[in-house]
Symmetry: C2
Subunit: 283 residues, 2 copies
């Protein structure tokens, strides 16, 4: 596996690969790789001829009081995992390589970025869009792989790619879960044993809501959300940040479940924020 | 010359051209082509194997009280000119093709966009950056050609390309002028005979300032600007909007002329806004 820390090195490598007409698959990550990332990488490996993974903890998507400094990092372990998966290239730039001192250009998706996660993390999606577009311009992949666990991010990146005519196909991949249903996340490592037990309440709430829709034919968002909230509120020391039912195409709230919707939620346990979601496909 | 109105048609054509490893040159325009555009096209023709021109009067770079509706258009005449120049492809989309109803994504360069032209045309450069990036993503050129006449636009596009790692080389081209020095512009057609005569005062002011720097060794911005203003203020019914001396690298105002600076000005004659600039290279 080739490891590049500089943009110019990557460009040179990509130029060669492009000349060979190979299809390039790209998995952007912030490292501390887990089963979720590995599922993205394996999908890329199957669909493409050349697989690039980036590891970059992007400072511009963290708020001033967020966990940028303590975000888990273990590059040696990550490299072992990537080599094991036979990834072709790891792009692992440092902050100065990605953001020069006088960096001034930003990309954002209006409206989509100010709701749900965006309400609790102002500026987060502007940082995400900007870094994703930079990475796309550096790697120039044919396909890029994103997990549905960060559903709002996925929907916003797809919207950006569509609006800006970015020549990259966005491939969405299922959320990978632990045995009890907790969505895998690099941030799960923050959880104490007790917190880990409580953490499952968000997934339980989502599954309860899904059950009410699919089996009890309850379609009113207000009722569904109330039922979901009850499950989360039962847990002590768990703060519900949001639980909303929105259209998957534009993230707009709906009063009644129709067609394709997504239920998204975020909770805070101690200092740890966890998000999850469930897509409901109505036939 | 191939004429495409649809993004998908362009993509298909570009894919073929890329496979042949041809170098693609791109000249984005708003049409109503003049000597300035032609000089860009000829430079592209010399440097590249395949030349694409776009004609798109971009609504998002016009303010609500600006001249979007009455901006001069003559596509038949433009097509003749482009055929004559042996341009390979004209991309001439309509507004709906470029901006779908629910368009939400914007690109902007902070600080650079709020000064000079940006002060008088709020949102202008956000519209410019967004459409230029879209066009780059559609055409995927190796080189793109911009005139120095719109110097702030050129500097902002270069900054965007640099910050976002866009794989396009920006080529800057000298301002083309009428015999008396007026910078050629599609908007010059708005000028009455009397206004046309007055219009030269901006260029005269810029040349006076250049003369003071180069021959009189006067380097204080304040004095230079005062001298320039005098020339413009002599003309009746000409409103000076700004006249500033800034660093060419970051558009920041300087007190004393050192190294590479650019003097930029804008005037309004009746309803017509005209801009011009002059680059001063200090050895």
């Amino acid at each position: 596996m080739r490891i590049c820390k500089k943009i110019n090195e990557v460009r040179e490598e990509i130029r060669k690969i492009k000349k060979e007409n190979k299809m390039i698959g790209f998995v952007p990550t912030m490292g501390y790789l887990h089963k979720g990332h590995i599922s993205l990488i394996r999908k890329a490996k199957i669909e493409c001829d050349y697989t690039v993974v980036s590891i970059f903890v992007n400072p511009t998507q963290f708020g001033p009081n967020e966990d940028f400094e303590r975000y888990p990092r273990d590059i040696e372990r990550d490299i072992k995992i990537l080599k094991n998966e036979k990834v072709d290239l790891l792009f692992n730039p440092d902050t100065q390589e990605m953001y020069k001192e006088d960096f001034k250009t930003w990309v954002y998706v209006d409206e989509y970025s100010d709701i749900l996660e965006g309400k609790f993390r102002p500026g987060h999606f502007k940082g995400v869009c900007t870094v994703v577009l930079k990475l796309f311009n550096i790697i120039q992949p044919d396909k890029a792989y994103f997990g549905l666990k960060d559903a709002q991010q996925l929907i916003i990146v797809k919207k950006m790619v569509d609006d800006l005519n970015v020549p990259v196909e966005i491939v969405e991949c299922e959320t990978v879960r632990e045995k009890d249903g907790l969505a895998v996340s690099s941030r799960n490592i923050y959880l104490s044993k007790e917190e880990r037990e409580k953490s499952i309440c968000l997934y339980k709430a989502l599954k309860k809501m899904e059950d009410l829709i699919k089996n009890k034919k309850i379609y009113e968002s207000k009722i569904l959300i109330e039922e979901g909230k009850k499950i989360i509120e039962k847990e002590k020391n768990v703060e519900l940040q949001y639980l909303e039912i929105v259209k998957i195409s534009n993230l707009k709230r709906i009063e009644k479940v129709e067609k394709d919707v997504i239920i998204l939620g975020a909770i805070k346990i101690g200092n740890v924020r966890l998000i999850d979601n469930i897509v409901i496909s109505m036939l």
